[in-house]
Point group: C2
Chain length 332, copies 2
């Protein structure tokens, strides 16, 4: 029997996950869910397009993971608890093996965070995936970009630069050759995992409720994403370059300046960048103790209009940096 649209949806995407708050899942005109009392609904949507956001030869399992991960990362940056997702996928053709791997990657991550797939759409077309993620948060506890205050300390979770390092090695054969000389297999795998299977910092987001003033996730690179916080909060920041959690070995491989550029502007690390007032600095270690990720203080905010000052051991350091990733002017 040839797979048609309906049996396709049923086979790979229906009835996978159940939640008590899911009143009606896939199969009707719409899904129905219940938002708990005294909670607000948090909604975000991200699209991944082949050739723009991912390379044509990406393993389908990685694509399934990443399409959900980038959305979960947005909820993490709000401190929200993810609950329900819709998936709209455009496929150039029906490939059962591809779909089996894609859905496996998607559902492994969905099940880890107990996210139910509640609807969506499967269409014929160039490969593209849009996920809309829905989470909940106790009323008025969401972590915004606009709530940073002058004097706040600036933090980053995990490490940065690894995802872009893997991407460059996939894009550029000469680069890949030197890269493979420099890093051992385990390191290479770690970079590739960071690129293909980013771990959204959902648990860190929970921990930061009531502790951080402002949070953003690092999708376009720390330098550009930090500017979103600063502009929304009328602040400037001093960034201490020697404190940046640059992925291990990157500086020895590329040299100091190129390594900093990659770490600051490479993007797709899906770590959290956040600001914490002096009064909450002491409780941060405990707040993040169950999040499974390190954090590092990398600077401080002052009143301003969105400027970032780069300092190395207290001295101004000039590095020419692109402001941010823009899908219409840069290609992946």
């Amino acid at each position: 029997m040839p797979l048609n649209e309906f049996s396709l949806i049923e086979r790979f995407f229906a009835n996978h996950s159940q939640r008590n708050d899911l009143v009606l899942g896939i199969g009707d005109d719409a899904a129905i869910v219940e938002v708990p009392k005294d909670h607000q609904l948090v909604i975000s949507s991200d699209t991944l397009v082949e050739g723009v956001h991912f390379l044509p030869n990406i393993p389908p399992r990685a694509l399934g993971h990443k399409a959900l991960a980038v959305n979960l990362s947005d909820l993490a940056a709000m401190g929200a608890e993810p609950r329900w997702a819709t998936l709209s996928i455009s496929l150039p053709s029906l490939d059962e093996q591809w779909l089996a791997e894609f859905s496996a990657g998607l559902f492994e991550l969905a099940e880890f965070f107990n996210v139910a797939l509640i609807g969506g759409d499967t269409t014929r077309g160039p490969l593209s995936i849009t996920i809309t993620i829905h989470g909940v948060i106790p009323k008025d506890k969401a972590l915004l970009r606009s709530s940073a205050m002058p004097g706040d300390w600036l933090y980053v979770t995990g490490s940065i630069g690894g995802s872009n390092l893997a991407l460059q090695s996939l894009l550029d054969e000469d680069f890949a050759h030197e890269y493979q000389q420099h890093f051992n297999k385990d390191q290479q795998q770690a970079h590739l995992d960071k690129h293909y299977f980013p771990q959204p910092r959902v648990l860190a987001g929970y921990g930061l409720r009531g502790v951080a003033n402002a949070v953003i996730d690092i999708s376009d690179g720390l330098y550009g994403d930090l500017r979103h916080i600063l502009k929304a909060s009328d602040c400037d920041a001093k960034l201490w370059l020697e404190k940046l959690p640059v992925v291990e070995g990157l500086e020895q491989f590329l040299g100091r300046e190129q390594a900093l550029k990659m770490a600051l502007c490479g993007g797709e690390d899906y770590e959290l960048c956040f600001t914490v007032p002096e009064a909450n600095k002491g409780s941060l270690d405990i707040a993040l103790s169950y999040s499974g990720v390190n954090h590092q203080c990398v600077g401080q905010l002052s009143r301003g209009d969105g400027q970032i000052e780069l300092l190395e051991h207290g001295q101004a350091k000039a590095i020419e940096l692109p402001i941010s990733w823009d899908h219409f002017t840069t290609s992946a």
Copy 2:
């Protein structure tokens, strides 16, 4: 200044609509909204891809309208009140004029139903639009596909066949030539409006709460969509062909059998198909009196497994019909 992704989003899509229940709109990692007490959240998502769901030369204003309308139609079929939408749009290039018209078409409809655009994503890629629509409904009042009962009367709103008639005239020059001879300018415009600017039956959906047993919207054609109700509800249906609200003049133009095929399988009429128990039949006129659309009883349900029997004045009528529109086997 060249438009980049951020200024593009700001210029055409941000800060258009406000609602009291919108806590945080476009501009942070996610949006935040409040679902009213004792209500459930209703979510649906639909994707339109160029060349699959719409012709490459569709007027951008029509595309903006239609992309939202098909989603509103899904909420109408649940009886839900639409409130918030996310828009993910892939564009091959940045064309300000195109975007101005697309967003005008989208927001005209959004404002009519007081739907706030709360987020989304703009990416470079082949033209494709995914909207996820969110509505609310009083707890346990949603109209499902699975609640039809044997004995229910079957209804259709408005008229059917007009959208597909317009589509055929756009696709086929010979067809168009005869079509223009047969229908006057006003009729042609009405068909084109039905195709490009479908009116989602949101108000009819409200009216059907507590009156209809089962509802679906007609996106793939009455014949295929009715089967979804029947299969979900373990029913068969008798369909009275002489009662079908086939668009005026279609039978004279195509002949009886071809006209019935177009009306039953053409799709994209975005009318509602619903079932009403005998006890509620009398209150239907009042329930739909403020919906701005007619309704017509076109058959009756019995216990079964999803079969549709076509009757003409009580006699069985054999017409060979495709079960349903399938984007992977049919092209628009």
